[in-house]
Structure formats: C-alpha cells, structure tokens
Symmetry: C2
Subunit: 336 residues, 2 copies
C-alpha cells in the first residue's frame, strides 16, 4: 500500500530525482525525450505528488484558506456561507486547488490559524470575510504579506485587495423602490453592528433617506437569528410611530418578521411592507412571497477566487465592487 515516489521513477528512468522533479513540474533542465519518458513512467506506476513533502520544500500548496468566525448556530441557519463556499469550491476545483476551511472561536484564534497556515505554506492565499470596524486581522495579514482577497465591505481593508459586495447599491434600490410606492417611515432590522457591511448599509440608509428627503430609517441591531428578528419586528410594529416598511439584513429575520406581523393581526403589505436582504427558497415559499434583494452568491465567491488566484500568480488585480444586488418585487411590498 506504499505510494510510488519520485525516487521510484528516477530508478526506472535511470535519471536523478532532480531531473524527475524538473520533468514533472514542467521546468527547464531536462531534454524533451527524458521529460516524455519520466511522464510516461509516472503515469504507468500511478505516481501522484505528495503535497506534504512539497509544502515542506516551500512549493505552492495549491490550497487556499478560509476561516469562519460566525457562531455555529448562525452558520447552520444562514445559507449565505454554504452558497459562497459552493461557488468558491466550484472555481477552485476546476483549477485543481483545494480549500482549507476552519471554524474559529475568536479573532485571536483566527489570526493564529492564518500565521500557522502561512508559515507552514499550507495555503497559498486567503479569503477574508466579515470585516469589522478596526479589524486587527488586516494589519497582521499585511505584515505577513500573504495574498488575500477581502470579501464583503472593504472600507477597512487597508492595502489588501477586495471584492466589495456593493451593499450601498442595494440600499439605494430598496429605499427608492419603497419611496416610489409612497413609503416615508422606514425601519431596518440590521445584523451585528460591529460588522463593517452593517455599517456600510447603515450609512447608505442615512444618505439615501436624506437625499430623498424622508426621515432617517429607525435601525434595530440583531445577531441575524430568527428570534432576534422577530423581537425587533415586534418592537417596531408596536411603537407609536409605526414604520410602514421594514428592510431586513437577511432572509431568516424577514421571514420571522412576516410571522410576527401576521401574529399581530397586521396585513402584509397592507399595513406594513417587508423586504429581505438575500433571496432564498424561504422567500419564495412563504405567503405572501417575500420581496427580496437578490444576488448571485456562488458567482460572487467564484469571482473572489479568480481574483485571489491572480494575486497568487503575482499579478496585482484591482479592488472592485461586485455586481449590485437586484430587487425582486414579490408579495410583501405595496403602497402604504
């Protein structure tokens, strides 16, 4: 059950291990004839490279790393990450790259993982998610000089390359749509306030509301769970100055909000309009079906990977904003 090594190939081919390595890696230093013979023998005896040995010699690992710090209970609930990962995987596996995924408990553990991965050359680059205000990870990764693409909000990405999620455009589209319908009292059930993309959305809300000359949207921060989404909705809908429309930072909270509205005897969209950020089957299946800001998350992950691979290849891709989300009007929005 012993795997063949380059030493086996070298013996059979009657050349040195070094020559075999050059031939196998398409490097100059061997004749065309030797290269051909080495490749044929490698194929014949079923040789495959030993990634661990390569990594120890400092060769690229053909692996990119991603650490997730969201609490476990949110990971299971939000399809966002699995969709992102499926797009990432699709792009990587087409190029024979692997993904190393690690769930971490806190930012120190996360940074320790990056340091280890990079110093052991276990990864050739990183995908960085969920940027926070004054994120300590940025400085560390800049110092390590590990190829990194920041996903999501990018204002605090420092010198790292980023692929922004264009949340501002989403806010604009949602608010303009609601205002066109006649709404003036907007609310937002937001995610974790320390996440940068929450901040970006909040600022965009302020700006867009001011630009359209309506009162600023009331914002309630949550942890993304259905429970907190329901609680926030209950609070908003029982306040004396009840909003006529609510925008939610994810679909789970929007669905929970819809249930609360029904429970309170309010009609949707008659009494209150609802919009979910990120579309999903959930949004299509509830009654009335949920108006949503949709984006192609797997494609987003795939684009981020392509950028990262360019970076690893020594290019210097530009930071950009990704495609804006687009609004899919369904049954939960109407005139106030």
């Amino acid at each position: 059950v012993k795997r063949p090594t380059i030493a086996d190939i070298a013996r059979r081919a009657g050349v040195s291990k070094g020559a075999v390595s050059f031939a196998l890696n398409d490097q100059p230093g061997v004749s065309a004839e030797t290269r051909r013979r080495v490749l044929a023998i490698a194929k014949e005896i079923g040789w495959t490279p030993n990634g661990v040995a390569r990594a120890l010699s400092g060769a690229p690992s053909h692996t990119i790393g991603m650490a997730l710090r969201r609490p476990a209970r949110i990971l299971g609930v939000e399809p966002f990450f699995m969709e992102l990962i499926s797009g990432v995987e699709a792009e990587l596996s087409a190029r024979e790259y692997a993904l190393s995924l690690q769930v971490v408990g806190d930012v120190d553990a996360e940074i320790a993982v990056y340091r280890r991965w990079w110093s052991e050359r276990r990864v050739d680059g990183l995908l960085l998610c969920d940027l926070r205000v004054d994120d300590p990870r940025i400085g560390v990764l800049e110092e390590l000089a590990v190829p990194t693409v920041v996903i999501g909000a990018a204002a605090g990405a420092g010198s790292l390359v980023s692929l922004e999620s264009n949340d501002g455009a989403g806010v604009t589209e949602a608010v303009e749509y609601l205002v066109t319908l006649g709404h003036r009292h907007l609310a937002r059930v937001a995610g974790l306030p320390e996440l940068l993309h929450t901040v970006v959305r909040t600022e965009a809300f302020t700006e867009v509301c001011a630009g359209l000359d309506i009162p600023p949207a009331v914002t309630v921060f949550t942890d993304y769970t259905g429970e907190e989404g329901a609680r926030a909705t209950r609070r908003l809908l029982s306040s004396r100055n009840r909003p006529t429309a609510i925008v939610y930072d994810n679909d789970v909270m929007a669905i929970a909000g819809l249930a609360v509205a029904h429970e309170m005897g309010l009609s949707v969209p008659g009494d209150v309009s609802l919009i979910a950020w990120d579309d999903s089957v959930l949004c299509q299946l509830v009654h009335p079906p949920m108006t949503a800001l949709s984006r192609d998350i797997p494609a987003y992950g795939a684009r981020a990977v392509r950028k990262l691979l360019e970076l690893i290849a020594g290019q210097r891709p530009a930071s950009l904003a990704d495609e804006p989300p687009h609004l899919i009007p369904r049954g939960t929005t109407g005139r106030p």
Copy 2:
C-alpha cells in the same frame, strides 16, 4: 518573520534535536530537568510545531477529513450539513483537532481524495456521509484501514464503525402518530433513492404500515430541492386517490409542499396533514407552523467525532444507533 524550529531550541538548550523532540512530545528519553528547560525555551521563543514537517515524518496530523459530494445547490439549501459541521467543529476544536473539508464532484474524485489524504497522513481519520447502495467507498476505506466513522445509515458500512441516524424510529413515530389521528392514506416525498438512508426509511415505512394494517405509503423520489418537493406534492394532491397525510424527507420540501397545498386551495391540516423530517426555523415560521421530526444535529456530529477520536486512539468503539428523532406536533397535522 522566520519561525523558530526545534534546532533553535536545541542550540539554546545545548541538547540534540532528538532530545528536544522527545521533551516536546512528552516522550520518555529525557530527564525531567532537560524537559523542563526545553519547554521553557520553546515557550520563550514562541515555538509552535510545524504540522507539515510532522506529517512528513509520519506523526499524527491532528486533522480529520470529510468530503461532501452533494450538489452545490443542495448544500446551500439544506441546513443539515452546516449544523453537522458546526457540531463536528465544536468537538474537534475543543481537542485541538482541525477539520479538512472538501467538496467533490463524483465518487471517484472522493475516493482519490481519501487515498491522498491518508497516504500523505494529512488526516488521522474520516467521517463518511451519505452512504449509497453498494457504496464503493466502503471497500476502499476498509482496504486502506483508515479510521472511519460512518454517519447516517449503516447497513452497508461493512466492517467500519458507524453511528446510525436511527431513521427507522423516526418513521415509526411519524406513522403511528398519523394513524392515531385517523389517517390511513399516507404518502412520502422522499430524497434521492440511491442514498441508503432513503432506502432505510422506505423499508421502515413499508414495515410500519403493514404492522398497523394500513395501505403502504405512496412514495415519490426527489433530489431534495423545493422545486421537486413542490412538483411531487402537486402530483400527490391531484391524484384521484389523494393521500390525507404526507411525510417529507426534509424541511425545504415540506415548506414547498405547504405552499402548493395552499395554492391548490386545500386546507392544512383540514384536507391534508404534513410532516417535515428535520426541524428548522423554517418550520416554526410558516403558517401554520410545520409539524416536524426533530433531531439535535450538532450533537450528532459531536458524538460521531468522539467515536472517531476513540478509534484513532486505538480503541474499538461499538457501532450504535444514535438517539431517535422526536416528533414536534405543530399546526400542519390534525384529523383527516
């Protein structure tokens, strides 16, 4: 930015690299005094082990592997895997183990990944999901003799250790409950027919229905998506011999089925009762709330990991069935 190695420690301590290695790994062969000194120096200069080098020397990698072969679009939709993974991660990280996760396209790619992982000692063991009828992975893993715990159905697990998901108990509970309510015409919207746990559920249905002296449940196979769940429901509800109750193999399909029933003008549970396999926020948030077969999936993942770690430690844990799912009656079930 160069990481300290055991050679640095050896130089400072005035001993050999071998002695340092023994001290660091708590192996016999060094005096208590030397061990203490080595440990102190390692801590002082911030030494951490290089996993790649250890792996190349055949030491345990403190990593377990898991390959997922579900199509990407299903991964994003079903919370099952993220919940399982979060339980697995929780248990692993408490013991300083890492998880290697790889999404693969087909069974050959999956087997290739296992061979590579094992021969490079990138993993100490595997978690195996989604067993199929005559699963070719079993024979390969038996031959490689890699510590493996099979999750889910275990009938075809060969000599591998398994932690069955106890689907039979779930079927019994659901069917007995429906029959007690007065149902006699049951249907089931099942998952992929080639998955072993689908087969196990089908057989359990046949057996339980026969035991309770009611006609066998009509079964429609799907790919787990909401689309196919909706289509299957439409077909069942428009057949001349309409079932009075439908059990779904996952929550997404059950929610889709509920939407179809509403669309067709049928009352739930007045005209038809619905039960979802696996509870989730979706089930709690729809109207009426969905009766569900609930199980603690993170705990299940954690238990599987504990079994695997026992196996890796050289013990021979027994194969068992996990806790049975329990029925949570909600609004979608009632008398026919």
